[in-house]
Amino acid sequence: MDNTAAQTFIDPKILGQIGDLSLLARAVVDGFLHGMHRSSRAGLSLDFAEHRPYQPGDDLRRIDWRVYGRTDRFYLKTYEADTNSDVVFALDASASMDYGSDGVTKFDYARFLVASLAWLAQRQGDRIGLVTLSGDTVDVVPPSTRHLNLMLHTLGRVKAKGPGQIPLTLEKVAQLRSRTGIVVLVSDCYEDPAVLRRALGGMRSRGNDVVVFHLIDRAERDLPWSAPGNFEDSETGARMPLRPDDLRKQYQEIFNGHRAELLRECGRENIDYSAIETDQPLDAALRTFLDLRLMGSRVR
């Protein structure tokens, strides 16, 4: 399969026709990896590094039974370049995510993205977890190497509704984690950049690598309408009669300013910020994640 075919396969519109997230994620990741040249970035290693205590969710096969025989405690052997780190996804499930001008909503796209990243992480032996906050409902999947199916099931079940609560979601992530790892925030970032920076900065200060995927729909970027209309806020239900023609320029300036502010604020905290438009294939997001993962592999 050539590279073009692989990219075509992971087009969001096509992915939207696949109902099974597991199949979707596998297809995306396999297509993505097969389309890449082999690289040492995949680097798995069997060089022993140290023992560490067993934690719930750890693979029982990796328990060092000899040490158990001696100490009567469970220890796991870890190796250099072992990717068994925590990757926790914080998914913004606010109502504003349930919007798509071209068939695939931002929330759908986010689910594809999270599923694919989770699959990729699973392939590399990472422990994957998920936190979503939809309205008043919190869905938490603790990090584990065996929680992929549970996570995919949760992703398929969650509905986007209610107001945006990114800081609260990240707070749940912080409560969930005891180890450092990677925190992936997938959101449309309708939040004050300074507030977002403070919330993400807290994660970062705990030693986590933080990645922000800012999902953008083409219509919310361009405000393409000409006819006057009554615009309704998806989250609050507030309505506003508008003539987009007269407001487009001002709106685009504000929107782009918001993106620039987000980029600047994330940069201040060494947070990886990636703006992804939902009509673009998933490979850019995967590549961003893999680059970060490669960097993170150096840290056990």
């Binding site: 219509a219 919310e220 309408w225 009554n230 506003m240 407001l247």
Partner: protein, 692 residues
């Protein structure tokens, strides 16, 4: 040609033009909102509310307003007024509007058109033109004399309502002629008849002349369909119960249909004294009469109000028929006979009089010399059977009784003829006998068929009494003031009449026994005899109903009569030297009371619309001139192209509606193409479970 509207009131619907404007201005507020992820950034932009209230899509607004305007104009029935034929100069016209208010104008499809036509005439006049409004049915009433105040004329038109009487175009045209004749100069005079042009109303036009300069036109307001169903009559029969069974009343009704497209199903309902007593489902033929017999009902005591109705059609006034069945009473008839009367000589006479009801007659034989005031009191009539008028106190009592309203019938036979009896009370003298045995007997010759006695025999082709033959009869010599009602074929008087005071005296020479002729064996014998006696008594059988427009003589028993009309209106006819009379204008039941309208009424009469009004057959507008004076015919231009007909022919409304549909299609295309269509498509993704 100026554009006028047959239903101008609908033009008020142009006010609906504000609807698309309001919709347009409020459209954004009410249309389905466009979902957007967040207004966080948009709310930072200052937006003035004044801008939202501005008309932002003028072409679309104009298109929608045009649709409304075209629809309203179409329903107001526009018509290009036909160009008048060399009409008079503006401001010099004298127009008399004759508005038909007969019963047939109450047709649901006629009266609104007639009113609109009359108003359109007034609205089409120029300032200075004079107009008069005359309402007519069988009579004409000037509702508004000639005036330049057109608003007053319009108000007069508004006061007119269709009634229950028949149509007589002649009455209306005469009234218009009288009105215009009062003008010093009738140049520019016009008589405009707004009517359904019923053919039955044309009687009486013959001989009418209009001033030469007066123009007569007809505005046809007739319905498209002339089909009509009407109840035209009621027949009642008293059924005498045997044993303990009560007397019953059998009612049948006659229904006439004309010009229906097909058979019509309807329900006939019988109401007796206000209670529904029977119904019948019937199918009426498209044309022709039908009869419906109801099951007999128990006969109530006293006069009975009977109403038969059918399901209403477009002309509801003739779908109800009223009748009064009078109470059954027995009256005394005194039969004064000579002493030498044979036992069976008056057999046929007595049996004939005792047969029948309304009223039932009871015969009392008397010696003429025994008649006195006491005997005569409450008697219906006195029959002197071949006996002279008694003299002395009996004669005086008889004369006084007749003068006060009694009825006296003298039967002149062999005895009176041979004695040549003379009496001042009788309208004729019998002088000898005529023997017709040689020529197979005589028959009745010239007869005054208009006389009430012969009412049952009207319409027959031959002699009213059929083939009755008279072999020997008295030869009557009429008095100077006597009326000869009938003569034998030899010219000899057969029946004489004279009024004495308010009573009637009749002398009959037709032999009433079976020995001097075969009259008793004829079927006409019984109705003739009863008619003769009842007429003499002034007690003709009260009709079951009157026709609207008839006059009704108030019963003489009422000294201070109060008449309550069906509409509850109270009438107080003046009682003078002559009997008081009331014109029965409304359909329904008129009730007369003594003094005040409460308690038991003295009498009740039923009134129904004129039967000929139910025939909606139309005549051509030009036919109205048939019979009108030659001068006026030359000077008159009949324009059959009335406004309504012109509207029907032009059908501008159809074009306007078609245009409205085309504009509607254009509007649909406009709103679904270009940015308007895009606006409808690019909307946010709807929540799950709802349409995008």
């Amino acid at each position: 040609m100026p554009l006028v509207f047959l239903v101008p009131a609908i033009l008020a619907g142009l006010g609906a033009l504000v609807v698309p404007i309001l919709l347009h201005l409020r459209r954004r507020e009410r249309e389905r909102p466009m979902r957007f992820p967040s207004l966080m950034f948009l709310q930072r932009i200052t937006i003035t509310t004044a801008r939202r209230r501005r008309i932002t899509d003028l072409p679309l607004l104009l298109i929608r307003a045009l649709i409304v305007a075209l629809t309203v104009l179409a329903f107001s029935r526009p018509v290009l007024r036909p160009k008048p034929d060399a009409g008079p100069a503006k401001g010099t016209r004298r127009v008399a509007i004759l508005l038909d208010k007969s019963m047939s104008m109450g047709h649901q499809a006629v009266w609104p058109v007639a009113l609109d036509s009359a108003r359109a005439i007034v609205n089409g006049l120029s300032a200075g033109d004079r107009v008069a409004v005359i309402a007519f049915d069988e009579e004409a009433t000037v509702e508004q004399a000639l005036t330049v105040d057109h608003a007053t004329a319009l108000a007069a038109i508004g006061r007119i309502h269709p009634g229950t009487r028949g149509t007589r175009y002649g009455a209306g045209i005469r009234a218009a002629r009288e009105l215009l004749s009062k003008e010093a100069d009738v140049t520019g005079g016009e008589v405009l008849v707004v009517s359904d042009l019923q053919r039955s109303g044309s009687a009486g036009i013959a001989g009418l002349t209009l001033p030469p300069a007066v123009n007569l036109r007809a505005i046809n307001a007739s319905p498209k369909s002339h089909g009509n169903t009407a109840v035209t009559g009621i027949a009642v029969q008293r059924l005498t119960g045997t044993g303990d069974a009560r007397n019953r009343l059998a009612v049948s009704t006659h229904i006439a249909t004309r010009g229906l497209a097909g058979p019509r199903k309807t329900k006939a309902t019988l109401t007796v004294n206000g209670r529904v007593s029977g119904t019948r489902e019937i199918t009426l033929p498209p044309n022709g009469p039908s009869s419906v017999a109801f099951d007999p009902v128990a006969l109530p005591v006293g006069g009975v109000r009977v109403i038969v109705s059918i399901d209403h059609d477009s002309l509801p006034a003739d779908d109800v028929f009223n009748a009064i069945v009078p109470a059954q009473v027995t009256r005394r008839v005194l039969l004064a006979v000579p002493p030498d009367l044979a036992a069976d000589e008056t057999l046929y006479l007595e049996r004939a009089l005792e047969t029948g009801d309304e009223p039932t007659l009871r015969i009392e034989r008397r010696n003429p010399a025994t008649l006195d005031a006491t005997t005569l009191r409450d008697a219906l009539a006195v029959v002197l059977y071949d006996v002279a008028v008694p003299g002395g106190t009996s004669g005086s009592a008889l004369a006084a009784w007749v003068h006060d309203g009694g009825g006296l019938v003298a039967i002149a036979g062999v005895r009176m003829g041979n004695r040549s009896t003379t009496s001042a009370m009788l309208p004729g003298t019998a002088r000898g006998m005529v023997d017709r045995t040689g020529d197979r007997g005589g028959v009745l010759g010239a007869t005054a068929l208009e006389h009430p006695i012969f009412a049952p025999f009207r319409g027959g082709a031959s002699s009213p009494l059929g083939s009755a033959r008279f072999f020997r009869y008295a030869k009557l010599v009429p008095a100077a003031d006597a009326q000869v009602i009938a003569r034998f074929d030899d010219g000899s008087p057969a029946l004489l009449e004279r009024q004495e005071g308010v009573g009637h005296v009749l002398v009959n020479a037709m032999p009433l026994d079976a020995t001097s002729g075969d009259f008793p064996l004829q079927p006409t014998y019984l109705p003739f005899l009863r008619g003769l006696v009842l007429h003499a008594a002034g007690n003709a059988a009260a009709p079951l109903w009157y026709t609207a427009g008839d006059g009704w003589l108030v019963p003489s028993a009422a000294h201070n009569p109060v008449v309550k009309a069906p509409s509850e209106k109270l009438l107080r006819p003046e009682v003078g030297r002559t009997a008081a009379a009331v014109t029965l204008e409304e359909a329904g039941f008129y009730t007369i009371f003594e003094g005040r309208p409460s308690g038991d009424p003295l009498a009740v009469v039923a009134v129904n619309p004129a039967a000929r009004e139910s025939d909606l057959t139309q005549m051509a507008a030009a036919d109205m001139l048939v019979g009108i004076g030659q001068d006026s015919v030359r000077a008159t231009t009949i324009s059959a192209a009335t406004l309504a007909e012109a509207e029907r022919r032009q059908q501008i409304w159809r074009t306007l509606l078609l245009l409205a549909v085309v504009v509607l299609v254009v509007e649909t295309v406009v709103t679904s193409r270009g940015w308007r269509g895009t606006a409808a498509k690019i909307v946010g993704t709807a929540p799950e479970g709802s349409a995008p």
